[in-house]
Symmetry: C2
Subunit: 188 residues, 2 copies
């Protein structure tokens, strides 16, 4: 713990930024709003994050860390048999506390939206996916299965991200069963 640095302030500022997005939506993510939320002046904020992009990048990285953590957790309790990674993905997506999932959805949507035109900011996400896709490829199932499961989960995520469609709990259960069968069934 030698290096406290400015690390803690940064985390607090990211907290504030998240609070703003969750409370008022992504379009209100302005430096003023974040500074106010953190009870800091804009100058103070800009000391830690020299630009708004830097702030957004940090928010994205935190979001990825959070998801990665719950994926790791799910992985640990999966037996190392074929389809392990796919099973962990399914659990990480479906078994997340609903209100947490809802928050992360809104956060993700706002960030994706704010960032879609500056592809560079999505690099951390791209890197994360590249890693996951490697795991998918090494998952031991017949070709395409794990990736199809991954895609389906991301499809549901997309619907929720932009409020495009809200599956009922029954529908979600049905989809989950289909995906789990896809993982469990032997190649045809």
């Amino acid at each position: 713990m030698k290096k406290t640095r400015t690390g803690n302030s940064r985390e607090l500022l990211i907290d504030a930024a998240e609070a703003v997005v969750l409370r008022d939506g992504g379009s209100t993510l302005t430096l003023d709003a974040v500074a106010a939320e953190a009870k800091v002046s804009k100058g103070g904020l800009l000391y830690h994050f020299p630009s708004k992009d830097a702030l957004i990048e940090a928010m994205i990285e935190r979001l990825i860390r959070t998801f990665t953590a719950s994926l790791e957790l799910a992985l640990q309790s999966e037996p190392p048999t074929r389809g392990r990674f796919a099973r962990a993905l399914v659990r990480a997506m479906f078994d997340r506390p609903p209100e947490l999932a809802e928050k992360e959805s809104r956060m993700s949507a706002s960030l994706l939206a704010g960032v879609a035109n500056q592809p560079r900011l999505l690099d951390p996400l791209r890197n994360a996916y590249a890693r996951w896709m490697k795991a998918v490829a090494a998952d031991g199932l017949p070709p395409g299965r794990s990736m199809a499961v991954f895609a389906a989960l991301d499809g549901i995520w997309l619907w929720s991200l932009f409020g495009i469609y809200q599956p009922t709990p029954t529908q979600l259960r049905a989809i989950r069963i289909v995906l789990e069968e896809l993982i469990a069934t032997d190649a045809s």
Copy 2:
């Protein structure tokens, strides 16, 4: 053809807006840029679309119409057996000319991004999904199958939308086969 109205001008302006987005990205979709592209003044543009939101809404509606049309086409050549809608979805997504798909992806991403904070503008998309989900529910397959297929297609779409991950042709083929088997296989 009695009502020509301002319809044609509107279409030309939407063409221009699309051209701007495709050439320079979504963040450059400004009234000035669209007006310049259409060789019209900003005032002229605003005569037809009283606000930028109105323009974006029209762009979204056109995009939905386009996709709906190719889905209808795919539907027509599918035999009316169980899983018809799911099969049509698969074909509409996979068999689209690649460079067209790429354009539509970029368009969609820019529009989604610009609009994520004003959920009302996504209403046309929500309505379209509501219709499709009805068709999915009536598709005749075991519960969750058609919807899982739909989700998987949208997941791949999401990856492409934001350039998150680019599946190889081999991977795409493998996924497609998995999905088609999911549609064709009897309930387990």
